[in-house]
């Protein structure tokens, strides 16, 4: 840790946060190996233990240093670790630094109208034409696509093999003329996500990540990274419970004797989830992310939904009003912002986005508990022969 502390000190000395342009500072941070300390040297890291990042982040935050753009959560949390694990050296050199500085925002072209829970049923086709792939299809639930310069893409390169085996993972240039991004309005009124229509989008083979047909394995790792990110540790009362607890303390009008035990149940559940997240983090510090993190995502969604619901019941007059239904396109999602009605509605997405709670339970049951698989009529069947 002393080395890292020293590296942080040096970075701050050479690039005083107050005097640096944020992009320049983040670039210097990347070059110092302090972007993701567990990444290899030269790729934004120092090959340090994964859990050392927390202390680095803390020191930088204390010094008032600018952090990476939250609108680039997909890039930071999913694309970057995937590129480090599976990208070519050239891809790593080309993409990681500008991703970290926020010069290039990334989005994720995975889900499709017909491939939601069943993500491996992706039907978007990529066909090789010389040394360039032509990609055509429709993606959905793409957060930040309207801000993104690049995307990670899962596309079908072979329809004659079973669904998992015919997928390949690519990096896509979102400025390609074949990319059409349209806002997808949610029940909150805003359009945090998009539909993305791909028509003969050109992707050089050098932007393929890992081997043809290995897309599913790479994407699964990406998703596990996302789930770990979601389950990261936090302070007591950092989440939805904090909003309700503070309100309860400060405003006697929302205190309800009948709901007190319910409030305390959610407090307890939030706290044991925080502890479980912390315990997972301590385990990850010595190992790799595993499917256990799927369970944490379940907890997060459950609590977000239950607690935002309780908040509305505690202040019913207030909850019958709403701040706005205007169609806005936020740069990043917010679970804790705006009013109680917004938070309640937005939380409904927590059990759908990034893998539905139903799929997460399947993952826990089969991969963690080892329960026998449910019937899969498409198992071993060439993709083109599967009923859809």
């Amino acid at each position: 840790m002393t080395d890292l502390t020293e590296a942080v000190r040096r970075l701050l000395a050479e690039h005083p946060p107050g005097g640096s342009d944020p992009t320049a500072f983040l670039g210097a941070r990347f070059d110092a190996g302090l972007a993701w300390v567990h990444f290899p040297v030269g790729l934004g890291g120092l090959a340090a233990p994964r859990d050392a990042q927390t202390e680095v982040d803390r020191l930088l935050a204390e010094a008032g240093a600018p952090g990476p753009d939250p609108a680039n959560a997909i890039g930071l949390g999913m694309a970057a670790p995937t590129l480090v694990a599976h990208g070519s050296p050239e891809q790593q050199q080309r993409y990681l630094r500008r991703l970290f500085t926020g010069e290039e925002i990334w989005c994720q072209l995975f889900s499709e109208p017909g491939a939601g829970s069943d993500l491996a049923a992706v039907a978007t086709r990529a066909v090789l034409d010389g040394d360039t792939w032509s990609v055509t299809g429709q993606k959905v639930w793409t957060s930040g696509a309207h801000n993104a310069r690049r995307a990670i893409l899962l596309a079908r390169t072979d329809v004659d093999v079973p669904k998992h085996a015919g997928l390949t993972y690519f990096v896509v240039d979102m400025t390609d003329p074949g990319v059409d991004v349209r806002p997808l309005r949610q029940i909150t009124g805003e359009a945090e996500f998009n539909e993305v229509f791909l028509t003969d989008v050109r992707v050089p083979d050098t932007d393929r990540v890992a081997a043809v047909g290995h897309g599913w394995r790479v994407a699964t790792e990406t998703l596990n990274n996302e789930r770990v990110a979601i389950g990261a540790g936090a302070d007591r009362e950092a989440g939805q419970i904090g909003l309700v607890a503070r309100r309860w303390r400060e405003d006697p009008s929302v205190r309800s004797a009948a709901q007190h035990d319910t409030l305390m149940r959610w407090w307890v559940e939030s706290e044991v989830t925080r502890m479980a997240g912390e315990r997972l983090r301590q385990q990850l510090a010595v190992g790799a992310p595993g499917p256990e993190s799927s369970a944490m995502k379940l907890a997060f969604a459950r609590q977000a939904q239950g607690i935002t619901n309780l908040m509305m019941e505690l202040a019913p007059d207030e909850a019958l009003e709403h701040d706005t239904w205007e169609l806005v396109r936020p740069r990043s999602g917010s679970f804790l912002g705006r009013g109680p009605g917004y938070r309640y509605l937005r939380a409904k997405g927590n059990s759908i986005e990034g893998g539905t709670s139903e799929v997460m339970r399947n993952v826990v049951a089969e991969r963690v508990l080892g329960l026998p698989a449910d019937h899969r009529p498409d198992k071993g069947v060439p993709f083109k022969d599967v009923p859809r």
Binding site: R185, I187, E313, E321, H322, K348, V381, P387
Partner: protein
């Protein structure tokens, strides 16, 4: 034991309401209210109130009404819930009408006159109390702005329970400011009453009449919630039967089935509870307060649960603005808070059945 079934006439009434609404209303029109609160949905109210004459249901015949009972009004409420219809039936034709009928039957000519317009659908009225009020809480309007009041936007008459009694005030003598509402199909407003209007009842009577209006509203809100829950259940059952993932309809997955089976049971119970509350209201059953508190506690939660399950089991599409399920989620949540939260009704119920903390 009171009859909890629907009569053949009830079924005819249901068919008429459903058919009529289908002709003049669709989900896009309701959704449009979220972007433009002034969008014209008056055809729905015309169909319900004028064409079918349903605004007159709870007005006695000698006061120019249809002299029907709460059983029939409950069938209408179910259908309005099922269509998430943006009409002032519950606020005007149930709550305000019940208050006015009490006043008129006690001899108020002004109340009787007002009922005439309400019954034929040419005017609507709203009770100026927060929409979360419930019987027995003795709230009055003490001047200044009060919010959130349901049914006030577009109402012609306001019923104002002041400390000195119940006043009937023309909407023109009050400032009604629409609020952005969780449920734009039943928008709430801030109301500030300027004029005194006419006194319909003294404060003691007013409390009785207002409570009667709130009880009637809560009783029939349960039927509206039943309609919401049924639409959500049926729509979701249909969706999971056809949506294919993993090469199977998702409705063939046992976890999905079991959740919908549990929800079905809740809806079966909600239907019984709602019919019981409606029958108790129709019959003036002394058990009415118990029936209403029970039905409100149960049906509020069931409608919300049904809407939440509908969103979840529709997956991503259920989170989109383009699918109508969000209209039901917003209505279900607003209905849960309306006329007393479930926890508040359970608290009331504890007193009613001698189970206090």
């Amino acid at each position: 034991m009171t009859d909890l079934l629907y009569s053949a006439d009830d079924q005819d009434l249901r068919d008429a309401v459903r058919g009529s609404l289908a002709r003049v209303l669709d989900h896009d029109r309701v959704a449009a209210l979220y972007d433009d609160p002034g969008a014209d949905v008056s055809a729905a109210w015309r169909a319900v109130a004028s064409d079918l004459g349903l605004a007159a249901l709870l007005v006695p015949e000698h006061l120019g009404g249809a002299g029907a009972t709460a059983r029939e009004a409950a069938v209408v409420a179910e259908e309005l819930g099922r269509a998430v219809a943006p009409v002032p039936f519950l606020t005007s034709s149930v709550v305000a009408t019940t208050v006015l009928v009490h006043a008129a039957q006690a001899g108020s000519q002004e109340a009787a006159d007002a009922l005439g317009g309400l019954a034929d659908g040419t005017s609507t009225a709203a009770l100026v109390l927060p929409w979360t009020a419930r019987a027995g809480t003795r709230t009055t309007y003490d001047g200044g702005p009060v919010r959130p009041v349901a049914g006030a936007v577009g109402a012609d008459l306001l019923l104002v329970p002041r400390a000195d009694g119940l006043h009937l005030v023309p909407a023109a003598d009050a400032e009604v400011t629409p609020l952005t509402s969780l449920d734009m199909s039943r928008p709430v407003a801030t109301v500030e009453v300027g004029g005194e209007g006419v006194l319909l009842a003294d404060s003691e009577q007013a409390a009785v009449y207002v409570d009667a209006g709130l009880v009637a509203g809560a009783a029939l809100l349960a039927s509206e919630q039943l309609g919401v829950a049924q639409w959500c259940l049926e729509t979701t059952v249909a969706y999971v039967g056809t949506r294919v993932q993993f090469a199977r309809p998702i409705g063939s997955f046992q976890a999905v089935k079991h959740r919908l089976a549990d929800l079905y049971l809740e809806v079966v119970q909600a239907q019984a509870a709602a019919r019981w509350a409606a029958a108790a209201l129709a019959e003036g059953d002394p058990d009415l307060p118990v029936a209403v508190a029970t039905a409100q506690s149960w049906c509020s939660e069931v409608a919300l649960h049904a809407a939440e399950e509908a969103v979840q089991l529709h997956g991503g599409i259920g989170m989109t603005w383009e699918h109508p399920v969000h209209l039901y989620l917003k209505r279900a949540k607003a209905d849960q808070l309306a006329l007393g939260t479930p926890a508040a009704h359970r608290s009331d119920l504890g007193v009613l059945v001698d189970l206090v903390p």
